[in-house]
């Protein structure tokens, strides 16, 4: 049992934290975020140089990481500065390409940006009801349907798309140039796209890809949860700091016992969220990965809302302003719940285990 990071991962965390803190501070972040393309190409290349992408895949696939803990280290650092770069798509795509033993040099070097298109408007979380479908045409296939909430899709070069083929979910590669991509910024600053497919040519990567897709989703959940932990740590530290400095009624408001106890309750939930994220990361790739990913995402959903709302409430008006960074952190925490399955969706997956 060892809850310390390995030396390599600690070095990666330190260098990412240092880089993002210096080069991607909140002013720059807010300039990049909330408006297309929600992306800074130069910073993306530098993040890649620092190894943020190589950490997402194992050595056998050309990277130097690839475990749940590697993913968590990268995303916790991204969370601490609310970095809006399209890293989630890369993490999930790297997982798929590794599973299929496909070349991912372009992904890991940052030369090509990948996005993974799974969700649909009527099937945002559970892909069983997916309606996007593929038919064989000539040497390849064509896809028809609409994929929604493709994170990072607004700048992606290549989409990995889930679609039904012969009654089972399959994975395809679609070039951005071949499809209609409608990008948009999100409430919490990062970008996404709708991917409109209408007889769009696609290359089949894997038929019967349910297990591979699940694994990619589980990895994405670990990434999101670790990101949320990074976000929550900053929010909590900022809030506690504010409690020490903001005075009302002649004393720092942190002297009010009610706020003290609520700050403690935030801390407790954050530590619980960190714990279950560690657990989900450790199980990634194993037989229990889905179960613990669901647990982590459920808890992150609850803790994230609590931390966001309490941080705003305890700050008062200042945290309601665009200018004060906590507002952006709070938005990220709240909106993250709707990515890759929300609190209730994941709870219902755990409930399904119970009934069995």
């Amino acid at each position: 049992m060892d809850f310390n990071l390995t030396e390599d991962r600690q070095m990666l965390a330190d260098s990412l934290n240092r880089y993002l803190g210096d080069k991607y501070p909140v002013e720059h972040r807010n300039a990049v975020a909330y408006d297309l393309p929600c992306h800074d190409d130069g910073k993306w290349a530098e993040l890649a140089e620092l190894g943020a992408l190589f950490a997402l895949s194992p050595e056998s696939a050309g990277g130097f990481g690839g475990t749940g803990f590697d993913i968590a280290v990268v995303f916790e650092a991204l969370g601490r500065t609310l970095c809006p770069e399209p890293m989630l798509g890369a993490a999930m795509a790297a997982r798929i390409l590794t599973a299929l033993q496909l070349d991912q040099e372009a992904l890991l070097s940052g030369a090509a940006k990948y996005a993974v298109a799974l969700a649909e408007v009527d099937a945002p979380y559970d892909l069983q009801a997916m309606e996007c479908s593929a038919v064989a045409q000539g040497d390849g296939h064509v896809l028809t349907g609409r994929k929604t909430s493709v994170y990072g899709g607004q700048v992606a070069d290549i989409f990995l798309v889930a679609a039904m083929l012969d009654g089972a979910p399959a994975l395809f590669e679609v070039q951005a140039a071949a499809a209609q991509v409608v990008g948009y910024p999100m409430m919490d600053g990062a970008g996404a796209a709708e991917l409109l497919l209408d007889g769009t040519p696609a290359q089949l990567l894997a038929a019967n890809a349910g297990a591979i897709i699940s694994d990619a989703v589980n990895a994405g959940i670990v990434a999101l949860c670790a990101e949320a932990v990074g976000v929550m740590d900053v929010v909590h530290a900022t809030t506690v700091d504010y409690l020490k400095t903001r005075k009302q009624f002649g004393v720092p408001i942190g002297k009010f016992q009610v706020l003290q106890h609520r700050a403690v309750d935030m801390l407790t939930e954050i530590e619980q969220a960190r714990s279950i994220t560690i657990k989900a990361a450790s199980e990634l790739g194993g037989p229990q990965a889905g179960r613990f990913a669901s647990m982590a995402k459920n808890m992150i959903g609850r803790a994230g809302r609590l931390v966001a709302e309490e941080a705003i409430q305890m700050h008062g008006g200042i945290a309601m302003t665009w200018e004060y960074p906590v507002s952006h952190y709070a938005k990220r925490l709240v909106m993250l719940d709707a990515q890759l399955g929300d609190t209730d969706y994941h709870l219902s997956r755990i409930m399904a285990d119970l009934a069995a």
């Binding site: 297309l36 009527d122 929604t148 999100m186 409430q313």
Partner: protein, 395 residues
Amino acid sequence: MDLSFSENDIAFRDEVRSYLADNLPTAMTEAVRKGGELTKEMMEDWHVILQRKGWLATIWPKEYGGPGWTPVQRHIFEEECCRAYAPRIVPFGLNMLGPVLIEFGTQAQKDYYLPRILSGEDWWCQGYSEPGAGSDLASLKTRAVRDGDHWVINGQKTWTTLGQHADKIFCLCRTDAEAKQQQGISFILVDMNTPGIEVRPIRLIEGGHEVNEVFFTDVRVPVENLVGEENKGWTIAKFLLTHERTGIAGVGFSMQSLEEVKALARKMRRGGKRLIDDPLFAARIAQAEVDLEAMKITNLRMLFKAQQQGAPGPETSILKIKGTVIHQELKDLARRALGPVAAPFPGYLAEGNIMFGPDGTEHNAARYFNNRKTSIFGGSNEIQRNILSKAALEL
């Protein structure tokens, strides 16, 4: 015990309902339903529509142009306005300054200002909070110094709602620097066109602009703009905080939100079935509905008590605390019902000609975030709990 309205009240309700049906433009109700920001013109048009019927200054005595309603009638009117998705009335002149002038103003002040509020000629805003004086309003620092026939004001106000549209502002200023806290504060009326005033927008968490900072640099105001006695402004501030608290529970707005959530849960689909058929989500709605039904009665009980006693008691803080919690929960449910569909930043999808969720839901996430303010402003829920602890529980 009788929970039903009297025949007179029901006739009144029908009259309100019918006037709204005939006079409230569809464009307005559509804008309210969508929940984005209303234009200045819309707010002004609504003002005129109500004034035409004499239903504008609902809490003013009849002799000053109020409709002479009972608290129950006011409640019915507010509820019907919500039911019809009417815009909210801009309250600063009508519900705040008006009663203050009627209680504390000179005859000249009443004669001059009250008709201008009714006609809509003056759009008022509020200069209370300061960066260092939020929950602790009494620690405000904006100074007003007497110089001949003028007050000279220096300082900064913040959270001034709709100040960008306003012609005039009523301010709490410190007029005696030696006096402690609540003492030494005065209530002063200021024309926004006076030299030395600068209004800077505050962009809110969700991106909208409804509040402002107002800076005062050597702003000269005639001495007759003082309301009430010099250094007794705190009395007026307290009067405003406790005087008129109908509607504080926001029951009408919560009812709007509950209907919206139910409609969304029927429309949105989660993997082949309606969201409302998901027991976890249905349980959330049902729980909020129970809380809201209880709040409706709590609201009426406090209204009844206020009507019997002539003034609302400290228990009305319960309406603020629980009313905002319920409303915020419903806003959370609306965002949650939309799921990823709530994610896009409002405005972008129309440009891409892409429809996401049901019509009119584009602002849902923004409204969730914007509504976090309701448990902070007007005396935060923490302050309300302090009040209740002291006044109701005597702790």
